[in-house]
Amino acid sequence: MKILIVEDERELAKSMVQYLRQESYVCETAYTAQEALEKILLHEYDCILLDITLPDGNGFTILEKLKKEEKLEGVIIISAKNSLDDKIKGLNLGADDYLAKPFHLSEMGARISAVIRRKRFDGNNSISVHELTIDLLGKVTTVNNLLVDLTRKEYDLLLFLISNKNRVVSKNAIAEHLSGDAAEVFDNFDFIYAHMKNLKKKLAEANCPDYIKTVYGLGYKFEA
């Protein structure tokens, strides 16, 4: 799986590469719009992470170029502006998703995995980890072909962890992924523990091995 990261902030680009390499992704970076255009024309990518504000140009022009060349890989726009106009403009130009800085790397991981799945399998797809299978279209989870009845939050939680397989996902990232801004209402992450407890219990009852490891004080990790 090949990913292009177009980001002028080298340290951020480095972090993104480092995080994605832990999974089976092959990453390339471009620090300028020029560099990005060259790479796009030469190579095929499964996903492009595109920062809108670049020193030598606007990310939107790259997006337009991609559209013209009919090379619309899964593009995720990254912006520090978090403006609705940018988001709408980007999506209208053919981008698949929009990620506002500062984002959690695990959130980025989940978005990339979703975009790639959509592109590869035309939306009709599923994820399998040994006996565990998630049908993304029907939002149905099965263990050894037996249905596990998960709530919406438990399903989202499981998918988020699998999308960041073998990496520690922080409680903070989970809370934001599950509840967005509403997570602010809570003074602690107790509600995540409750969901996690139920999810683990349901999977165990379905004879699924305990893939979800608790990383003390930090978060969780789906190990497989």
Partner: protein, 419 residues
Amino acid sequence: MKLLKRTVKNYILYSALLLLICTPIYYLSIHRLFVNEMEEELFHHKNNFKKTLDKLENEKDIQLYQLINEEFQLKETSKWPISDSLFTYSQYDSLEKTFVPYRALRTGVTVQGTRYELLIRESIVGNTKLVTAIVAIQTTLLVLMLIGFILINRKLSKVVWDPFYTILEKLKNYQIDKDLTIDLPHSSTAEFRDLSEALVHLVNKSRDAYLSQKEFTENASHELQTPLAIFRSKLELLMQGADISSEQAELISSLLNATDRIVRLNKNLLLLSKIENRQFLSRQEILLSSALTQSLGLYKQMAQEKEIKITTHIISEIAIKTNPSLLEILLSNLISNALRYTPAQNEVRIEIEKKSITIRNPGEPFNFPNKIFDRFNRESRTTQGNGLGLAIVKKICDTEGIPITYHYLQGSHLFSIDF
């Protein structure tokens, strides 16, 4: 009090005072002058009489003289000598049917060897008549003077003060967050011209300061996003390490929580300055109840976790024309605020009626109810809130021109918005 009124009031007071003091003085001096003149006249009469004494030969002549000169009275007397004396007395006048005051001179004369008491008198004009005349004249003068003052003042205020009132009106209508510059009239009066120039200078300086402060907040928030993204990403990478001790895990966790708070704070500051800078311009007709349902959807889970029941009562449907994002932020912040301060196992009640929405939730009274809409005024430092939620609510209401009120009633917080 208006400038015109104040001036006229002072004029009236001064004139009335002048009238009160001057009338008696005026009256007394005129009276004095009058009486003096009369006394001189009386002595003059007496001297004239003495000159004619030789011509009066007998009693008959004397009586004739008296008849011709009404003011003379001669009486034989035994008292002698009679010194000259002046006095005032009143006598009933049967013709005018009133007492007439007289000023008289009593003296003694010898006519052909007979001693007579001579009384020469002159009637004085009645005091009251004099006073009335003087007061009438003075009052007329005063009234004429005042009418003059008012007319001149009105004319002056129209012509001379006109630029002042124009400046005042323009200043009242000036809004630093909406208007670009202020256009003040150029008066020919030096003071008003100076005033205009000073005000234009002041307004421009304030506006510059306001703009740069506004831009600063937005730029600073934008610029912070990238370093925050780097910081957060490095923490997440640090977390991936295989051999992290529990102490290290705790440190990383604290850092992650602090980062979350900075990120939220920065996001809200950016939002606040975006609202201030009017970056939410598009307008759309939205059904309030459906906007509410959408916002509530985000908090349903949270409410369940906290065992708080949210009930909505839609008494009448209303559609409002506003920016959809702003409306969503407004409702979400109010719901989030209500959930934050509602104790577990309680109810948040939301009501839409006529043109207003009311959010009511039980809770302890706020310590500073007057400051709840201020930035960074958080009731309790232990909560995760960043003290900007209600400031954002207020800012949205202000820019959209919709009034919001807060009350604490029977143990409940009540926020009402009238669209």
